[in-house]
Symmetry: C2
Subunit: 208 residues, 2 copies
DNA sequence: GATGGTATAATCAAACTTGACTAGTCAGGC
DNA sequence: GCCTGACTAGTCAAGTTTGATTATACCATC
């Protein structure tokens, strides 16, 4: 996830100092990325070293001095390359929330269900907030398009959790599931290492 | 994204050595997480230090010795806490692919379209691969449920890109868009810092 | 004119992540 | 009997990320 594209893309529009960049990302691009301030400064430094960005110190009023970042021609070229690459290749996304669900069977079905209810509330709130975000430049504002993408994902999340909830609703235990410890089953059946299988087979034949 | 839950959850089912853990994650949980080997070992070490996991060295055949990890009662408790928390709270997901689209206007519409076509091919291939994954334990195998979740997201991605493509199809330039540089517009209109606004107002009034 | 709160601007140490590497084992071909 | 390639098992240095902190400026109000 190359976040240089974000910084270069913004500096391309307008030279900025670090605070300004971070402030803009926090306020407007909050839902696209989780780039934190120190990381942004780190990446800016790297961009400077690579010659993609130039920095100049500036004094405004009697404020402490600050660094203003400008994109260079090489930076512009780098941005174009990164952008083409970003548009043309699919990058996997991972969902931290799904990690827990893999181990759902460790808790009683009803407890899973009540926990998921809480998550649902938060997702709904999130969707509502995203839908309220102002449109700056008509319906084809790219930021707005990305926003719609995100909302669509969240709606899938809601539907998915709801269907899961229905499955859990009339269930007190996991007893009727084919395997109680699914992962366990996998491990024991299909996922012993080649080496261990062979070792086992050998010891088995020897004992015969 | 607390990946301890993953390691504890697996060790809970069966004690394992590091290679076994990593191998299982690589083969079966590949689509849920991108946990890499050295990170897994790092986290295992930390879990040991915190007393959630115990390690013992073991010798199998005349293989080099290896460390076997067992979950402790404290580890089990930690796992339960993490799991409850994971199920009950919504964790934001971010899409690296959306980062580029924010800057779509930097490239000609037709170029954006052809780039996105390539991404579409990759997403379709990814969906096909995920759909082929074997079902181990009936339709309610949690891993399978998570898989479905992921596929649903990918299908949303496809639809979304397609609708974007249709918008791009009959367009040679961005000229008819309300603003050429959307971000720029945002920056200049609404996103100057409080301090800068005040500074500007002050200098303006002084000059009067 | 002291005080507390927010905004501005950035840095640092500590934690986390990863690509590249080490080092031994085993099976099969020649 | 030796070589190659794949498997087993893990480590390390270098790179990345972040929570906490520093430090000054401005403003309200007491």
């Amino acid at each position: 996830m190359d976040r240089r594209i974000l910084l270069l893309g913004l500096l391309r529009m307008q030279e900025m100092h670090g605070y300004q960049l971070n402030d803009f990302i926090d306020r407007r691009l909050d839902f696209v990325t989780d780039l934190k301030k120190p990381t942004a400064y780190y990446i800016l430094d790297k961009l400077c070293k690579d010659g993609y960005v130039r920095e100049a110190t500036e004094q405004a009023g009697n404020r402490p001095e600050r660094k203003v970042y400008y994109i260079t021609p090489e930076g512009e070229e780098c941005f174009q390359t990164l952008l083409r690459q970003n548009l043309a290749t699919f990058e996997q996304a991972y969902y931290a929330d799904d990690l827990g669900l893999v181990f759902m069977h460790s808790l009683a079905p009803q407890e899973v269900r009540t926990a998921l209810e809480k998550k649902v509330v938060q997702i709904k709130r999130e969707i509502a907030q995203l839908e309220e975000l102002p449109a700056h430049n008509g319906p084809n504002d790219p930021v707005r398009l990305v926003l719609k993408h995100k909302i669509a994902h969240l709606q899938v999340d809601l539907e998915w959790i709801n269907s899961l909830s229905r499955m859990l609703a009339d269930r007190e235990t996991w007893d009727d599931e084919p395997t109680n410890g699914t992962i366990d089953e996998c491990l024991q059946v299909g996922d012993i290492s080649n080496y261990q299988v062979k070792e086992f087979v050998q010891s088995y034949t020897r004992n015969k």
